[in-house]
């Protein structure tokens, strides 16, 4: 059954994209969870939807438009938070509801691409094209290099931003870098997981891994493993039972999270 599934080129593409996204989302997700900034992924996912809507309306690449919209919003959010000192959750709430409102208006203006939009909302294993894989490969590699290059600094900032800054670490620059990387990862993820569900792939693996009470490095590795397992099982379930891939992946994540809760009742 598994070999048969992997014979199909669309499933091969879905698996390559899914595994790539699983690693990137869970790795970057660790930092936003520890900084109590989990809503960032949800907000940028909604902003990506605006990009997708604009792309579909204007006949441009929805993926590229999602990347642009998500990047622009991430910079504005970080600017308002760090320079203007606005509360993170308030800024995120404004962008989340604002972008959803804008996406709904654009969708209702066009009216004719609802079926296509559905796959962007909840993910579809049929929708990953070879071109999408190239875009994911290039931007995903860049995001991975940046996350690994500044991994220890991002960890320090998550633990104690003031002491990291006092120690000479360029906190403002790295904060902008992190939100940019997350924005790109979210925009790239929408083909496989969908805009409404990508937040779960970023947040649930680190939250479940933290329950096991280990240091940061083993926690991060476990988080990546949880994301990879969920993507493999979720995509397989999506193929076997004709389910939206994003929903299947998130349900797997939830099951693992519940197991982590039951095993580590602290």
């Amino acid at each position: 059954m598994i070999y048969e599934m992997l014979d199909y080129p669309f499933m091969q593409r879905a698996f390559i994209a899914g595994l790539m996204i699983a690693i990137l989302a869970s790795l970057s997700g660790s930092f936003i969870v520890l900084r109590r900034y989990s809503l960032l992924s949800e907000t940028l996912a909604h902003v990506s939807l605006v990009g997708v809507s604009v792309g579909l309306l204007l006949g441009m690449s929805p993926l590229w438009m999602a990347v642009l919209a998500s990047l622009a919003a991430s910079w504005m959010i970080e600017y308002l938070r760090s320079v203007h000192g606005m509360y993170s959750d308030s800024v995120l709430a404004i962008f989340l509801s604002g972008s959803l409102a804008l996406a709904i208006v654009i969708v209702s203006m066009a009216g004719s691409f609802n079926a296509s939009l559905f796959s962007y909302l909840f993910g579809s294993i049929l929708s990953v094209s070879t071109e999408d894989l190239w875009v994911m490969g290039i931007f995903g590699s860049l995001a991975m290099v940046l996350l690994l290059a500044f991994f220890k600094e991002l960890y320090f900032i998550a633990f104690d931003e003031d002491v990291a800054r006092a120690g000479g670490i360029r906190v403002t620059l790295l904060n902008f870098m992190l939100v940019s990387v997350i924005a790109v990862i979210i925009a790239l993820s929408i083909r496989v997981v969908g805009t409404l569900l990508i937040g779960a792939l970023m947040v649930i693996p680190p939250v479940a891994a933290i329950r096991f009470g280990m240091g940061f490095y083993p926690t991060t590795l476990l988080s990546i493993a949880i994301a990879l397992i969920s993507v493999v099982i979720g995509l397989s379930a999506s193929y076997l039972f004709s389910l939206p891939s994003g929903a299947a992946i998130v349900l797997c994540l939830l099951i693992i999270f519940i197991i982590a809760l039951l095993v580590n009742r602290r």
Binding site: Y155, F159, D160, A166, G167, G168, I169, G213, G215
Partner: protein
Amino acid sequence: MKFSPSLFEVNGLNFERQGNLVLKGATFRILPGEYCAIIGPNGGGKTTLVRLLLGLEKATSGEIKLFGVPQKRFRDWNRIGYVPQRSALVDSTFPATVREVVAMGRYARRGILGFESAEDKESILEAMELMGVADLSDRLIGNLSGGQRQRVMIARALASKPDVLIVDEPNTGVDVESQHRFYELLRILNRTKKMSILFITHDIGVIAEDITRVLFVNQTLLVSQNPAEMTRCDEMSRLYGTPAHVVSHNH
């Protein structure tokens, strides 16, 4: 003769927050090897002064030099160890072992993609042993007592091998025995290791015998190189504007 610049040289420093004057015309120098206590009433600007020195706040006007270099051009931040206020109050679920936290003190020295060198490993171990937390190496920081966490935070600051240690009221949530161990440690660092210390405290009586300089901060700054006189009860009462009792402890 080798010229040894001041660790900190501050001239006419002013700081306003949302239109309110927090610090006015602060001018002082801290020399190598000094043990300086920063005292003053709550809200007087002690923590703000330290944050200005560390570049965590931007001065409205005035000049700060660190190790003889203007703050804007200063890059050797690992020469300054910093233990902030309430640093012992960490999130109990944060996934960080004692060793991981202490290792953070070396991050600024390692650079991008820099792996832990033998020197890094040695400094981390040395700092943990000095603070008596080496046997807690693999324990999660959130599972430690307040006193143990405090020692871990100081070990992190010491891991970078700083020339000066800045400690901001570190005894919040820490038991009395740990507090005494902490004061003793600062004394050893200053006298034996020749490390300069800037210590924000309300408990000046405990360290009265050790300090070489007192900065009294209450919007304006009063500098005294005669701590014994400064810590007299009548002088403290005059400065705080309320009856003050200085309790001295024997080491």
